[in-house]
Symmetry: D2
Subunit: 312 residues, 4 copies
Amino acid sequence: MAELSNQYLEEVVKACRPYSSGGSVVDYIPGLDQSHSTDLGVTIVTMDGEVYGAGEKTNAFPLQSVSKIITLMLALEDFGKETVFQKVDMEPTDDAFNAIRNLEEDEKQLPHNPMINSGAIAVASLIKGNDVEEKFGRLLDFVYKITCNDQIEMDEEVYQAEQKNGARNRALAYFMESLGIISTDELEDALDLYFRLNSIKTNSLDLAKIGCFLANHGKSIEDDSYVIDPSHVRTVKAIMLTSGMYNESGTYAVEVGFPAKSGVAGTIVGTVPGKMGIGIYGPAINKKGNSVAGGRVLRTLSRELCLNLFHG
Amino acid sequence: MAELSNQYLEEVVKACRPYSSGGSVVDYIPGLDQSHSTDLGVTIVTMDGEVYGAGEKTNAFPLQSVSKIITLMLALEDFGKETVFQKVDMEPTDDAFNAIRNLEEDEKQLPHNPMINSGAIAVASLIKGNDVEEKFGRLLDFVYKITCNDQIEMDEEVYQAEQKNGARNRALAYFMESLGIISTDELEDALDLYFRLNSIKTNSLDLAKIGCFLANHGKSIEDDSYVIDPSHVRTVKAIMLTSGMYNESGTYAVEVGFPAKSGVAGTIVGTVPGKMGIGIYGPAINKKGNSVAGGRVLRTLSRELCLNLFHG
Amino acid sequence: MAELSNQYLEEVVKACRPYSSGGSVVDYIPGLDQSHSTDLGVTIVTMDGEVYGAGEKTNAFPLQSVSKIITLMLALEDFGKETVFQKVDMEPTDDAFNAIRNLEEDEKQLPHNPMINSGAIAVASLIKGNDVEEKFGRLLDFVYKITCNDQIEMDEEVYQAEQKNGARNRALAYFMESLGIISTDELEDALDLYFRLNSIKTNSLDLAKIGCFLANHGKSIEDDSYVIDPSHVRTVKAIMLTSGMYNESGTYAVEVGFPAKSGVAGTIVGTVPGKMGIGIYGPAINKKGNSVAGGRVLRTLSRELCLNLFHG
Amino acid sequence: MAELSNQYLEEVVKACRPYSSGGSVVDYIPGLDQSHSTDLGVTIVTMDGEVYGAGEKTNAFPLQSVSKIITLMLALEDFGKETVFQKVDMEPTDDAFNAIRNLEEDEKQLPHNPMINSGAIAVASLIKGNDVEEKFGRLLDFVYKITCNDQIEMDEEVYQAEQKNGARNRALAYFMESLGIISTDELEDALDLYFRLNSIKTNSLDLAKIGCFLANHGKSIEDDSYVIDPSHVRTVKAIMLTSGMYNESGTYAVEVGFPAKSGVAGTIVGTVPGKMGIGIYGPAINKKGNSVAGGRVLRTLSRELCLNLFHG
């Protein structure tokens, strides 16, 4: 078993970086292009507050789908499990993250889970607030509490792009309106909120802190007080394990064995209950939408630091 | 936190048994009918060899889908991960356990995972042996080693019923032949083996021992020697967590939080890594195919004995 | 073979009216409710200008899906076959009229045909005009020319209802935008136009004239001049035969054997090439969306007046 | 309008043959390979018994899917419409000819129509006879009566290949057994019969006679007596128009406008009610499974001889 240190992480990044050649950077996120294809940054925050990092660990990037766990946590805290899971199911799916198929075909016409676009939009429609600014403000405050970083903000350019390219997400939202999952009144705010959340700018340290917050059962890293109910954190981690890595979640459960959530910017939040949070930035992603080099980092850490939950 | 004892289990069974009224017993398994609809039996075997039980714990029933984890373990031991997962994927699905849809529609024309019928038949086609008797003999020997019970045998009547009602499974097998997943030569043996495996007669103690074997990383309960490679056991547990409880696997990940596999006879094997194996028999099942009262038992044990892996 | 007359049609209506008990009136069209469930009106206009009618032949109702053939004709006349069929395919489907599935799943990501909602919205996006008023004005003018009735207008209340309940159609439009079938600029006009077209108020005489116009190869009933190219009329009739009666089109091809198009208000336009147009109003519809008594009328006329094209 | 003659057909074949470069010959039919890719043969038999031909009109090839109309006619004659259409629907589909999806997903779990593999196997299960030899003998006799050619026989080599490569069709048959559409007892005979029917060896004259028989409402070409009920012939023609050309049936309805049925050997039977039968052999097929040059011939004949039913 390896020992966690900056030097150890440097070696991991060095060994995993070449795998990025097996992926490519998406072309629709402002600020992200092929020039970043070999970037790889990792930060780990342990439960006792130690921070380790290596590679392009301070690069900033939009949260994208990683925001889905933020929205889910706040919605659970606002409304409780019962209400949230009337708008969205908690089952894994073999459909793509932006799929609409099941809303039409399944007997239970609900988004499969909160980790896919339809599910996240449905959850976003729940967030309390008088208008979208207030709702987004509440979510941003929640991110501050989790990361102890109140400098985090939305990337305006990314937000514009999200809106401009939002037709597929609009289709999901209107389809859900037609099913009665989202009301006509909620729809525009839910979409706007969803686009804003995707555009929140963070770095690998912020992601590691989110992972650590989950590992720490919802307690603040600063003062060990509960920010949200620990049962909600457990729920989020379970859903991350079965559904957090898009259509590769099953493979990650086998090969990594702890909860993780990825975003198309090539980011991953990993969380090892009771141990640590892991933040990864590696923008070259594979066809399933996951960071290639980042996934290699997670596998290496799981194996060498014995982090696999199924090992016992 | 509750303390594990026979008396404690009696209380759990007493509290959970009434939930069986929310399910019904399948009508196509010889020996199982509505007269058993309120049956509920639980056995727990801990890592240090203690055995606890309550309810109809000695009733015998066919393994049905629980056999899928047995076949997967032996195939992994025979061939290793790479070969096995060329015949079957390891991703959870929202399809039914007997679905054929994805074989036709997905770009990657493979069974989603080894916990659904198509996947289990594909895995069965791998088992080594000169003929189906030898192959089944090897699997039965493997069950003896896991359970330390060499009295386990196939229920001939159930086997006849499996064959008679096997059209859907035959369709899956021939579809996989048409895709080149199973060869013409392998097909009949794979199906026969699959039907036999479903017909193996066990009780809740046997199931608990299977769960304990998994919890114990593949070591024999008797002499602590490795029966199979521990990495294969880890793989099986991860797949059980994401896919073991049919289309309710995500809900079980959230509400129970440790690997489990169910069968339509109303059985469940639960496994808590490093801690214990749980065997449940409760034949009244819900629409998803899972024991209603049995599922209630798992939720209760997880909560009261703090067995949820995501709790840390 | 029966002889066409008012008296004959009265007998047909009398014999077919009781079948309406096998259907029900939709509840979301203003002005239409269960009190109309036994209504049945038929008008026939022959190529030589004779008009026959029986039953509630003067009742007014919105065009709904019958408008799909109007839009298709004008788009074909405006742009020609090649351009139109780059936006929509011409193949029948087993999907529902409001399905979105194929847009996601098919290799060729196009609406199946112009007779289903997605296809009709795509065709509506083509209609020329500076704004939606001008576009709708052009379509209304076209209806005047076909029916020689310039009193036809939109039912404002129906239009409001179409917009209010338009979420599913919005989902289809946005999904098509995400596929590049409809541009962002075209989308709102296409939807608005689609809702207006559905709301055009007509009676069975108007429908019969539309059918007669098709039977007459696109010539005006008044002066025998070509209003549109006859090849476009042939195209529309062929598509009506394979796809005009929702998921019952195959059955109508067998049992009626000439082109027809139905609407959820319980209307049907039938067209017998070279012979006559048939307009039917019978608001009790079956699960497939077709007028039950109206379908019975079509079958009777086809058989008793020898109108089946496959008979030779 | 062109005049039908041997010379005219020679010109049509000459003009259409080059289109065969846009298709390719399937590689799994014994006796058919790329050396035949530019073959194109056409025979027309008119209602008054005239025969015209051009190109490779005497080449022999297996019936393949063209046999589906033979089976359907005999089943309708044996049992009538009601019984046959309890085993199979009569609706067109956008699924592939060998699709299994709808059997699993549709509410009405029936093959879409008798022109796709599942539907044809279901219909084959109906054919009367004590054993498969007798059943096949009856079908062959029926082919003799239609074509007035008792030299027609099965190609043994093709039959062997059909059986060897029959896994997909077996999957369809077993899936239908699981749904109760085909009984366990009927299954093997239905499949065997289906494979034999696909292997019947014919030439373009035989095909043209089949088409003429359909055009002639089921009367024998020889003595004008009814071989089968004309209403069944009408049914078959209607289904050919909506579903006979695989997933291109809608396009053929628009561009050709009379009933036709194709086979993967590159064959087409066309039938113009009251006028003529057309037999085409042109083995280079497109992705949809239809003869490229053969389809071009049909379009040309329809246009130049005014055969489009929708023209009136």
